[in-house]
Symmetry: C2
Subunit: 322 residues, 2 copies
């Protein structure tokens, strides 16, 4: 008799483990972290940011809801953020020291650990789509500069003028930064997205124009698999935004995944531990992620982070400040 | 009385843990992994490889023995390997599809998690020295292409003609590969070094010409902190050599470190676990490392790996085949 109850309890436990915190599918995005303060933001601009994030989330959510794949959802959401002037990626990218746009992006799929990354792109409208193409149709993971653009052209991508990415706002920013001889403006513009689809597959993607006034063809954490982007169906998907150098040195995205894997802790605690390491070295920024059970994480140690998610149970959140 | 014995046992245990396997300092190098078979190697060539590895190890060992730093030891050893035509790094680098040398390198110091990396270098004699300069004298971790070379020139580096890196042997290789339209020759030429100095500081460095017949400014694992190179005084230092794409996707160097950190397993078991993941995805290669106690690891899942170490207790090993 006692044995039967034990068995019943065990079955109930297994069922509850499977259902608690289990989201069928989910999507989370970020649009960069940094010194983003309510007192410096007009109501109109705040609404514009929130509307654009909603548009990106909705595009990905619709794909997931209609049984599309997480990679299609991530690409669709990031393209919307890249095409917006509001965020530092695609059109609206910050400018390098020589007043050009140089973009980086990466994508990774968690079911097969495939990955694609590009850096120093100047003439491709949607860098995230090129990162996906590198993953799906080259023998390589990471292509750069002119070579990456030659690959793009060989795959039918259209090239556009570099100045079609450039906005008045970013031109003013870089000229001010050059006067101060500074690369650091405390805003880490990057866009990113992580999605879990109905098939249990996680995809992560990240895209950026890098740092204002960057020199010497600097590569940040965004195209570095393990730092800016990581996805593994057995653990989680992560996209980072922050002071790239510190995110590379701390292997941020993979450090979160490996804690889930090896320490068996949850994604929120893992992210907290990793961001503390970044802060201890002197860096700052944020991360978003989804674990294999659909738990969504958004964490940062800056004043604000453009961020939002939609879960399959309908829960939606879009926030900017702490 | 019982308490006293427990205390005594505890003290003895602590002492034994501290002394067992503790090497005051150590240096380990690799010169690439792949299908390296005794039947394809002349005695003269084998001797040349072993002598050059001995020369590199001795140079680093001398620095460590005379209370120099691990970063000086790693740079000195790698420069000797880069300057040799035998290895795929510096002079003797394999050629890209357009018959040029394009070199990548990275370095990381374990006491402060500082790192420097470069990719797509065509005119700097010793890429490892440029990676060190990026770490020590730029605000960035990773510079690429022409920008990285402009940085080098601004720091007083001399530039040399690309064809001064090119050897007859590598020119034949790339022309054969182009005929076969193959990028994969089952030899992953890379050189790397990890050293632990008397001050307990670990440095790791890696340098390469990449893959024969590579296209599109491909970047492999060598300049990726966490994949090709990682160092942390609390765990270990690692340098990788292998099919770069698989090493990036598995975040190889950091995966070994994180297992030591989170699973509390030894460096040999951690390396074995990580190389199994690489193999399961379809890749191959090898890793070398030293943990914080001076335990040296050299592991690979190919037919051979040019490798060797010297420990402070005088133990020396230089090997090529399985």
């Amino acid at each position: 008799m006692k044995k039967k109850y034990t068995l019943l309890a065990l079955i109930l436990l297994i069922i509850s483990c499977e259902t608690v915190n289990k989201n069928e599918f989910a999507i989370v995005i970020h649009g960069g972290a940094g010194t983003i303060l309510k007192e410096n933001m007009s109501n109109e601009l705040e609404t514009a940011y929130k509307n654009k994030m909603k548009e990106a989330l909705d595009a990905g959510y619709y794909i997931l809801k209609t049984s599309g794949t997480s990679i299609d959802a991530v690409e669709a959401a990031i393209k919307i953020l890249e095409d917006s002037e509001l965020f530092n990626a695609g059109r609206g990218s910050v400018l390098s020291n020589n007043e050009e746009v140089e973009m980086d992006a990466s994508i990774m799929t968690g079911h097969n650990l495939n990955a694609g990354a590009i850096s120093g792109i100047k003439h491709i409208k949607n860098p995230i789509s090129l990162a996906r193409k590198v993953m799906e149709e080259s023998e390589h993971v990471f292509l750069s500069g002119k070579g990456a653009e030659d690959f793009a052209v060989s795959k039918g991508f259209e090239t556009i003028e570099n100045n079609s990415f450039i906005t008045e706002r970013r031109l003013n920013s870089v000229r001010n930064a050059k006067k101060r001889d500074s690369i650091q403006d405390n805003k880490f513009g990057t866009v990113g997205c992580v999605a879990l689809d109905k098939f249990g597959n996680i995809t992560s993607g990240t895209s950026t124009g890098g740092m204002t006034n960057k020199k010497w063809n600097r590569i940040g954490d965004v195209p570095i698999i393990g730092a800016g982007t990581y996805a593994n169906n057995n653990t989680c998907g992560i996209s980072s935004t922050g002071w790239g150098e510190y995110f590379i040195r701390n292997v941020v995205a993979y450090d979160i995944s490996s804690q889930i894997d090896y320490l068996k802790i949850d994604i929120n605690q893992a992210a907290k531990n990793t961001l503390k390491k970044v802060k201890d070295l002197g860096g700052s920024g944020g991360v978003i992620g989804i674990d294999k059970n659909g738990n969504v994480m958004m964490d940062f140690n800056t004043k604000g982070m453009y961020r939002g998610y939609i879960k399959s149970d309908g829960e939606i959140k879009i926030e900017i400040y702490q």
